[in-house]
């Protein structure tokens, strides 16, 4: 096997293994989506806790953020999948994947939401209060519209980051893209074709998101600043 083999790309082979890759990509997307949605919810709740400085919970959230951001997802998954069952908490591999991703992602989403909330200046809030807006109306008409503009780029970047992190799910026996690639290489020795399909699969999953995010960022920048 050598460089010459590289030149003959076996398209037929790729066609036959395509279903495997499709299935694996689909699993990645589903698990990734689940983890992201959960992470967004965690992030929203935690950012509200931090903003209103809720007693007791504030410390817990801060601790959570530090732990989640300073440890790799791989270890978090191992701990969830192999460690927790030992104290009686067993979860399926899919559940572990989603929980792990949400645990990691929640802290990043919290930072994103917080950035948005804090971007709305105090004087804007006073301005709203001075025309008699209630707290709820303040959130709805003044804070939220402005916070979202700041938050969306960060949220989008976090989503892309989390989708990339899903590549690790193979270690807890999930038939994801990396696993499929490894098996295909192991069984058929079609290294180039399988790697190519792997890259294309991730491009298909992530590239559209990345491009839409850039487009969205540009649109928001225009709406806020007119340039």
């Amino acid at each position: 096997m050598g460089g010459a083999e590289l030149m003959e790309i076996n398209w037929q082979f790729m066609m036959t293994t395509l279903p495997l890759y499709q299935k694996a990509a689909w699993i990645t997307i589903k698990l990734g989506f689940g983890g992201i949605v959960l992470a967004l919810i965690i992030g929203l709740i935690c950012s509200i806790v931090l903003y209103y400085k809720v007693k007791g919970l504030q410390r817990v959230v801060q601790l959570y953020i530090e732990i989640s951001r300073n440890t790799p997802l791989l270890i978090q998954l191992f701990f969830l999948y192999y460690g927790l069952p030992k104290i009686g908490l067993t979860m399926s591999e899919n559940t572990c994947a989603i929980v792990g991703l949400a645990f990691l992602g929640g802290s990043y989403m919290t930072e994103a939401f917080r950035g948005g909330i804090e971007a709305v200046s105090k004087t804007q809030i006073e301005s709203g209060l001075s025309i008699g807006l209630s707290n709820l109306q303040l959130v709805r008409y003044v804070i939220l519209p402005q916070a979202i503009a700041v938050t969306i780029p960060s949220l989008g970047a976090n989503c892309i980051f989390l989708l990339k992190e899903t590549s690790i799910f193979g270690i807890i026996a999930i038939a994801d893209l990396m696993n499929v690639t490894q098996s295909v290489i192991g069984m058929y020795y079609r290294t180039f074709e399988s790697l190519l399909m792997l890259v294309v699969a991730y491009l298909i999953i992530i590239l559209p998101l990345s491009i839409s995010l850039s487009w969205l960022e540009r649109k928001i920048r225009y709406a806020e600043f007119g340039n």
Binding site: N70, P72, F78, F79, K86, S167, T191, S210
Partner: protein, 225 residues
Amino acid sequence: MQNLGISVLFEGTALQRLFSGLLVTASIAFISIVIAFVLGIGVGLLRTSNSKVIRYSCKLYLEMFRIIPILVWLFIVFFGVTAAFDLDLDGKVVAVIVFSLWGTAEMGDIVRGALESLPRHQIESGKALGLNFWGLYKYVLIPQAVRRMLPGAINLATRMVKTTSLVVMIGVIDVVKVGQQIIERSILKAPAAPLWIYGLIFILYFLICYPLSRLSKKLEMKWEQ
């Protein structure tokens, strides 16, 4: 009461082996970080060049690492190079190659951001004070650029340390792999081994990364004027 298993941590050479695994992890991270920082400065300067071609190729280089997961890159180099050139690369070498390439790209972006954010009038004020080209760089531009770079750079270093956990997937005997081996050996005697071993590795990573992120925050706040 059944043996809780925490003693598995202290049995035999477990801790020593974990430590040697940690050393492997740390050395991969350290070497890659150093290479990335040095080359990254070069890439950063390139990205401020006047040539559109250079700028866009560098940006493309970065985007390749931003879109394709690092683990995929590890696979590409590990399996792909082996298949294409009949070379048998050690996982550690592959890791350093991939991480250095990734780190350089990211560092280049950080350096570019720092250079572009330097206010124009700093240069003008410096000239007004009579500084020549080198003086300008030494006393005005470089200190300011370094300040703007440091938080991002430390953040990158932390991320690179966390990402080294991936190398277990290409067969490197790092701290995670050692942990797995210890667990395999002692799982029959101490069923709760995974809890303690992975728990310990969890804490080890935290102990390395947390001080770095605190340092970065402290520097950011200190220089926030």
